[in-house]
Symmetry: C2
Subunit: 214 residues, 2 copies
């Protein structure tokens, strides 16, 4: 029933206010919901090329967290493109807007107290940095996870048959072939999925979360 005097969500996030729009400080503080859930909110941002293992590892992390009583929620790039971002394509400009919106949605979902596990190729470092800033301004931990393996390994996995089509020229702007991927220079967590099993990668990620959100 207590309402802290300085709600964590009362700060105006970056991006600047629109005309005549007042930031509402009366909204319940995230801390109250974190207390309810018995956990700390965070966004775990998994970045990497198609086939690197982002979704596979994320699914196992989500499963383990939920099984241990944590409210974890996985937000997937493909799924977001079916709804919120259905109006966006794959040009560099649209990818930037795709990630901008994804970052804002992660922040909102994490503001409920949840641990968001976001899996987005997010090839551009500047876009990821912008997501981090949005989280930092809101006081929500942003944990960048670089999920990687050699391109030829990702291409051999080719879970959606997209590399094959990109090589045939059927898909342009494909990350790793027609468009570049800028690896994180200093990610919180680094997972080489050509060396780690799914279980080992999930365990490493969760162990790191345990320390960071303690």
């Amino acid at each position: 029933m207590s309402t802290p005097s300085t709600p964590a969500s009362s700060k105006s996030p970056p991006g600047g206010p629109s005309r005549d729009v007042v930031w509402d400080a009366g909204i319940q503080a995230r801390g109250v919901r974190e207390g309810l859930l018995g956990q700390k909110a965070a966004t775990v941002w998994m970045t990497g090329i198609s086939g690197s293992g982002k979704s596979t590892v994320a699914a196992e992390v989500e499963r383990r967290l939920v099984a241990s009583g944590r409210l974890a929620y996985r937000l997937d790039g493909d799924n977001l493109r079916h709804g919120l971002n259905a109006d966006l394509g794959f040009s560099a400009e649209d990818r930037t807007e795709n990630i901008r919106r994804a970052g804002e949605v992660c922040r909102l979902i994490a503001d409920t107290g949840a641990i968001v596990i976001a899996t987005f190729i997010s090839p551009f470092a500047a876009d990821r940095a912008a997501c981090r800033r949005v989280h930092e301004a809101a006081g929500i931990p942003f944990i960048e996870v670089h999920v990687h393996c050699p391109l030829e390994v990702a291409e051999s996995r080719d879970p959606k048959g997209l590399y094959q089509r990109a090589r045939k020229g059927e898909i342009k702007d494909f990350t790793g072939i027609g468009q570049g991927y800028e690896p994180p220079s200093d990610p919180e967590i680094d997972l080489d999925t050509s060396k780690l099993s799914i279980d080992a990668a999930a365990e490493a990620l969760i162990e790191s979360l345990r320390k960071r959100l303690a």
Copy 2:
């Protein structure tokens, strides 16, 4: 640890898939998280003109729900315009996109298992109907609440001084003055805030939720 065989979130939402985007059915079902939280997810969509009392009633509803151990999360039109929708203005077209995105975000947040309390003027019936469809496709209750009072009462409250500025012509496209408001024809809940106290309105809303989410 159980993963139901038909995850609630495995259905492709309306809007149609983008190119080469595969809907990921491996995501944990909402039901698992609802079980964890001991509640049913829903979106409570509060619509009404500026000054009708949406935010005031919503704040009290959120406070009561959280105090009783429910994970409730308030999503406010103004706050969303600081972040996700900072690129949008107030033309009819931008209002429609504002509400489209808001509806998608409500669906995502409710998919965590939370009760979302959304306060958006949302003046156009077709936009609200689209939000309802998005929720129905995902199997999430969409509870439309019409928060209203006579225009002169809302104008006399004028919590942000906006009516005064709209009357002076400083704000165009202002709902109720320069732009129309289409009231819901069949809302789940109707709250006349010129007759109900804040407490009574909040109590009526929560009582209705209790029955609908039982």
